[in-house]
Amino acid sequence: MDLHFSDATPTTEERDAVDALLGLPSSGWDGGVRDPVRDTHTARGGHEARAMRHLLLPALHAAQSRVGWLSEGALNYVCKRLSVPPADAWGVATFYALFSTTPRPKRVLHVCDDIACKCAGADTLIADLERAVGPAYHAPKGDHVEVAEFTWMRSPCLGLCDQAPAALLQEAGPQPAERMVGSATLDTLGPLLRSGTPADAVSPPFRGGAPPAPGERRLLTRRVGEVDPTSLDAYRKSGGYDALKEAIEVGAERVIAEVTASKLLGRGGAAFPTGRKWDAVARQPAQPHYLVCNADESEPGTFKDRVLMEEDPFALVESMTIAGFATGCELGYLYVRGEYPLANERVRDAIAQARESGLLGDNVLGKGVKFDIEIRRGAGAYICGEETALFNSIEGMRGEPRNKPPFPVQAGLFGKPTVVNNVETLMNVPHILMMGGAEYAKIGTEQSTGTRLFCVSGSVRKPGLYEAAFGITAKQLLEMAGGVTKGRKVQTVLLGGAAGVFIRPDELDMVLTFEGTRAAKATLGSGVFMVVDSQTELKPLLLRIAAFFRDESCGQCVPCRVGTVRQEESLHRIATGKARGGMKGEVALLDDVGMAMKDASICGLGQTAYSAVESAIHRLRIYQ
């Protein structure tokens, strides 16, 4: 693609797919048939046209999910419809891993080869697949490409770590179908690839953690596996929307006061006090305010938000409504990870039902409160989990983080004051309102209040999602999950995901609170608790983590763009016995590069890209 439009035109299918989203074009200038009289003498554009830029990502999704890839003709058409320069749209389309700008089959199987799945034999599965089906997808060259019926490709973490190895099947068409596959084997994947997705494509059922131990508190997961997630009635019968009623009753200021009193800290990784964030946005004079729910859960090893959205979508809708009401937002964006088809379906459904029942819209609960939710689907970019990158992604730009300040509370989405919270954080709010902030603050510890969701995967007997009041130790969590797999020993536990740290078996008494992990120079991150047993090679996992960061770096700032490459190169040299300057030399280099990334990267991705590797080197001392 170029700065100028090429002559490529969309196929009827592509045009229909985009029109289904955007409606029919209004003139020859936005992709319609040129009227030789009116269109040659007038056109509209400007602010009106630029205000449509946020539809770029949905439009690209529409085109790709119909035909399987983004042709030049489709891109041209999308650009004309939205008045986006073609070079700009190219920049966006090529930013996301799920989009293909080269011809690709309609049926694509994404096979996870990330850390959790690697521990569960993903490499063997992939080798089997290569033997049975042929090599993974590669971009074809040349103009006339025969597109096969199906293909497969490797994928970073798909968020099914408790059911590793995992895969995701996507099938483009008039009714695009998607299916998540847990505990994948060649026997399940082979037929799926060849014959496609059954019409009733669903994700494997939720496999939750153990039933709550006596006295244990389940707040966020209390409906999971218990209440029909597709029924608004069932949700209301189980106490749903009581909290929103309460919120509207007591008023916005009181809601913020309760959230502040609860001492709720953000669960996305930064642990920022939620009440403070809400208060700051509520006080901003600039209008409108926006609410953004960050459901772009992509940290390897994390699947908590997926489960919450799949199993209790109405609770998220209610939580967002409360947050919007409290902070003066009339519109909330729910940015759901692209690789989560079922979660997408469930929240879409829940929002539609809520809207129909007057629980979203211009007059929520008949109380004159205005709030609605728009879903944005990600397209495969870890970086979009960073809040400002997520704003850019919603706005139709490349998902590159912004420099801070200004902070989102001042100038976030569309340059307006924005509350951005993670799914888990928001879903605490109804419970805070129902029990009162002070009461909520009694759960957990002094500094870490409430409960925490842990994504337990790897070598444990019962992997899954576990909720526990803050204060349990790593050892207790391991016990909740049934302990280490029979016959294995804990080599290490990865806490907090790829951006987290490996801890030693002798550190399992660590208290899994914000302050406890901080004191131990570890992190809770996104609640990842991945057990690696002593029969698993750790070094390939480190390489996978390094490759992940290299791949997911947006490339905007030098420390991260270059640093993640240098880090991976160094680990490769070590792995192939070509360490430069001996192991000591490589470790010194890794430390140096790591420090540069930590100190000088724009966002958290670069700042934590060395974290896991560093812990393996200095905590586990794997290179000694």
């Binding site: 020859g28 009289v37 040659t40 003498h41 056109a43 509209r44 554009g45 400007g46 008045s83």
Partner: protein, 514 residues
């Protein structure tokens, strides 16, 4: 605009600026007055005129009102091609906006009725009181950083420094006293008049500084004849231009951007310092030095002045405009806007702020009765297309300064033609077209561009060595401003070569794509 301002673009082509605009009004070439007067009528009928301002600060409203009454939306739609509802909406938007300004460039001024075009816009601003105050006004956007400065200095045929009329004896005497030389009591010739004087043998010697008329002016064939017929031609430039090739003497000059000290004045009348950063290469000399040396050889000793000395002389002879603008103050304030009569003054943010004083400072502003008059050369059976010329973003004038380096944006010269005409004529993108006017003929590749409307083709003067567009343009000019009608002439467009049968087959495919 990022803060929400609306942009309406009136242009025969949907340019990149027009594509950025909220509304594009794609008028027919040369129908500007029909559009402006129709907008005025809409504003008057909607009762949106600024009665108080008109009564206090203007004259001639009644005659103007009577004149625009015949410019109905139906008439304007017929003449401009723009749908009447779009014209009405634009007029109402302009009148209702608390702040609005009108900016224009050569599309208004390169016409046989250039001054009338400008007056029709001034009328709109007077009608709504959108002049002389914050966020309003009339802005002729300049194509160069110092077009305004050239006029300020008196590099125009009818004014001395500071726009002082040399036919007024008191003014002339003051300058004669200051400069110790005789000033002629009559107005000089403008560019177009000079060309005509060359034709008549009245002008035989010419000194050109920093201009390339051999390639930039209309009817290039005639200009070449004129330049080669001169007894003596001196060209002073930073490049050896096509014009310089005709010269008896060439003075290599330094660039006044980074190789010389001085000032420039931008479109908002802000005088700014520019500073020398590097030495000019080779034998190139500062303009001041060259002029000083010529003067010395002609018997006038200027005393080898510096740029600052020259500037202080400007301040002395035009104190009403520049008196308060010492180099020191220009540096201190990052430039000042004229008029700035003395060093206690901050400079004038609004040129016509006086119109809002009560009573009005100076003479009231007159409405002008101006009528729509289409371009001189209308398309006919023999020359059925209108050729309009202009610029492309990445190129600059005759390309002396911009064609010498590579840019991915350089696309070379082309004949931009509407998809409708291309389809009708069975023309492929890139296919050579011959464009012929009554004055000359050139060949250039076609570029099918939906910014064009049927019957209109567009070319530029950027690559005169490859495509001498100005051999086509018409030497008709506005008697009031001396500007030639570069924006409109009638041409014939035809395929330069008969195409192969095999190529025709390919065309059929391309046509489907359009």
């Amino acid at each position: 605009m990022r803060s929400g301002a609306s942009l309406y673009v009136m242009d025969p082509r949907r340019t990149e600026t027009a594509a950025w605009a909220d509304v594009w009004l794609g008028l027919r070439v040369g129908s500007d007055i029909a559009l402006a007067n129709a907008m005025a009528r809409v504003i008057i009928h909607a009762g949106l005129v600024h009665q108080e301002f008109i009564g206090r600060a203007t004259t001639g409203f009644d005659a103007y009102k009577a004149c625009v009454e015949k410019y109905t939306l139906e008439f304007a739609e017929r003449e401009t091609g723009i749908p009447g509802d779009v014209i009405r909406d634009a007029a109402l938007a302009y009148a209702r906006a608390p702040r609005a300004m009108i900016c224009w460039t050569l599309g208004i001024t390169e016409h046989h009725n250039a001054v009338d075009n400008v007056l029709s816009l001034i009328n709109l601003a007077l009608l709504t009181g959108k002049v002389g105050k914050y966020g309003c006004g009339l802005n002729p956007l300049r194509g160069q950083n110092n077009v305004q400065g050239g006029g300020d200095m008196g590099a125009i045929p009818n004014r001395l420094t500071g726009f002082q009329d040399n036919t007024v004896p008191e003014i002339r005497e003051r300058f004669e006293k200051a400069w110790g030389a005789k000033i002629q009591p009559t107005h000089g010739w403008n560019l177009t008049q000079m060309f005509h004087a060359m034709d008549e043998g009245k002008l035989t010697s010419l000194y050109i500084i920093g201009e390339n008329p051999a390639q930039s002016d209309a009817d290039a064939h005639r200009i070449e004849t004129r330049l080669s017929g001169l007894d003596h031609l001196v060209v002073q430039d930073i490049f050896l231009t096509k014009t310089a090739e005709f010269a008896t003497v060439v003075f290599p000059a330094s660039s006044s951007w980074c190789e010389a000290e001085g000032t420039v004045t931008n479109s908002e009348r802000r005088v700014q310092r520019c500073r020398k950063a590097v030495d000019a290469p080779g034998d190139a000399r500062d303009d001041i030095w060259i002029i000083n040396e010529i003067a010395r050889r002609l018997g006038h000793d200027f005393g080898n002045p510096s740029a600052e000395t020259v500037w202080n002389d400007v301040r002395r002879v035009a104190p009403h405009m520049f008196g308060g603008m010492s180099y020191q103050r220009l540096e201190e304030f990052d430039g000042l806007q004229w008029p700035c009569a003395d060093e206690s003054k901050p400079g004038a943010q609004f040129l016509h702020g006086r119109l809002w004083e009560n009573p009005v400072g100076g003479t009231p502003a007159p409405f002008s009765v101006v009528e729509h008059e289409p371009p001189v050369e209308q398309p006919d059976a023999e020359y059925p297309f209108v050729l309009t010329t202009g610029r492309r973003l990445e190129s600059y004038n005759t390309g002396v300064q911009s064609q010498g380096y590579n840019s991915p944006l350089h696309r070379g010269e082309s004949v931009d033609i509407s998809p409708e005409d291309a389809l009708r004529m069975d023309v492929m993108d890139g296919e050579p077209l011959r464009v012929t006017s009554r004055r000359g003929s050139v060949v250039a590749p076609a570029r099918i561009d939906d910014a064009l409307k049927p019957g209109l083709v567009f070319m530029t003067l950027h690559s005169p060595d490859q495509v001498a567009t100005n051999v086509l343009t018409i030497d008709e000019f506005d008697p009031k401003s001396g500007t030639a009608e570069f924006k409109a002439c009638a041409v014939r467009v035809e395929k330069a070569f008969v195409r192969h049968a095999q190529m025709r087959a390919t065309t059929a495919v391309v046509k489907v794509a359009h």
